[in-house]
Assembly symmetry: C2
Homo-oligomer: 195 residues x 2
DNA sequence: GTCTATATCATGATAGAC
DNA sequence: GTCTATCATGATATAGAC
């Protein structure tokens, strides 16, 4: 429960963000949000129209945060390969899963265009950003010219999202790390390889 | 709702399988199962101890079915690369997601070892099976000797699982297909590549 | 802005008649 | 084996006092 250094709407949004990450939209009740935030029933319905409205605020903020984190790594120093590698190896709380990607398994999020939009836009932006970097790598001769930047970017994002699935299934980050190493081995510039 | 050619327990399990796929464990209520199966409250609690018990039967069957489908493709004809490709390109109802993988985003499944076990075992079996095939491909010179079969297998499974996430986020199978093509391009034997 | 009271329906299950 | 009743609790709000 958040102590008193945040405004009530702020505490409601942050509590909702945590619960959406832990339990998803379907698994998160207004009551749980109230308990975690320390706010009362009346406050919540004063500041937000209801569960979907509060969830939308929470999802937008989480999506924005994920984008900022990714951009921080992707616009960092290094060659294109190194930046993709930095993204893939970035420190993650693997067993918690992706706070954005997990929402795609939530039927009520997928059924509501307003809730799905921030999820879609964020993953789409990430793919486009990685695609640019791969194209840049092709120009530098770091990636084969035959590769399609958009396809490689999709494979990179999918490996991360799927890595979470494997890790959570087994209860250990090991499989996530294995998938990342496998993809990086396939992406490695020719001079780094035995082949 | 299932018509009368199945026994009541059978209809309960099949209805539960569908609902778990569509809405997950947290999002599936006994009431919804009863409505879809056409069974009454009493029947359900006669044949199963409760929701977790019924879900376990449903999950086990879904896991078994997924394994059989995958083995069908992976033990088929062709070189190792071709069999991995056949697995990746296999026809899928992409927007529905993976009936096994999606359960990893369900907090109540992950929290219950009995419910998680079939999920874990199935994905683990799949990885091990793919790893064998990659190792076989290395012996044949189809894959680089530097590659680790287990890591490539993890990347393959993760790409599929993550492909579902991308597809569901965007409401279109396009991104799933892109991720698969990207991974296949990286996996392609040297003689098929420009590099 | 926050609080308590109230309302309606769903959840997940038990009891006991048939 | 199946049915209907019943139950305690939770989900998701609205109303209105303060």
């Amino acid at each position: 429960m958040y102590s008193g250094f945040m405004s009530t709407p702020e505490r409601l949004i942050e509590s909702t963000r945590e619960l959406l990450w832990e339990r998803g939209y379907v698994g998160t009740s207004p009551k749980a949000i109230l308990e975690r935030s320390g706010a009362g029933q009346g406050s919540m319905y004063h500041h937000f129209k209801g569960k979907p409205d509060l969830a939308l605020a929470a999802i937008r903020r989480t999506a924005q945060e994920m984008r900022a984190t990714a951009e921080g790594v992707l616009s960092g120093p290094g060659t294109p390969y190194e930046r993709v590698e930095a993204y893939l190896r970035r420190e993650r709380d693997v067993l918690r899963g992706c706070p954005v990607g997990r929402l795609t398994m939530d039927p009520d999020v997928i059924a509501d265009d307003a809730l799905r939009a921030p999820v879609d836009e964020t993953l789409d932006w990430l793919r486009a950003r990685l695609a640019e970097i791969v194209e840049e790598g092709k120009e530098r001769g770091e990636f084969a010219p035959s590769l399609d930047g958009g396809e490689i970017a999709a494979a990179v994002v999918a490996t991360v999202q799927g890595g979470y699935v494997l890790a959570r299934a087994s209860g250990s980050p090991t499989a996530f790390d294995a998938a990342v190493r496998g993809l990086l081995a396939l992406l490695a510039p020719p001079e780094d390889r035995t082949r």
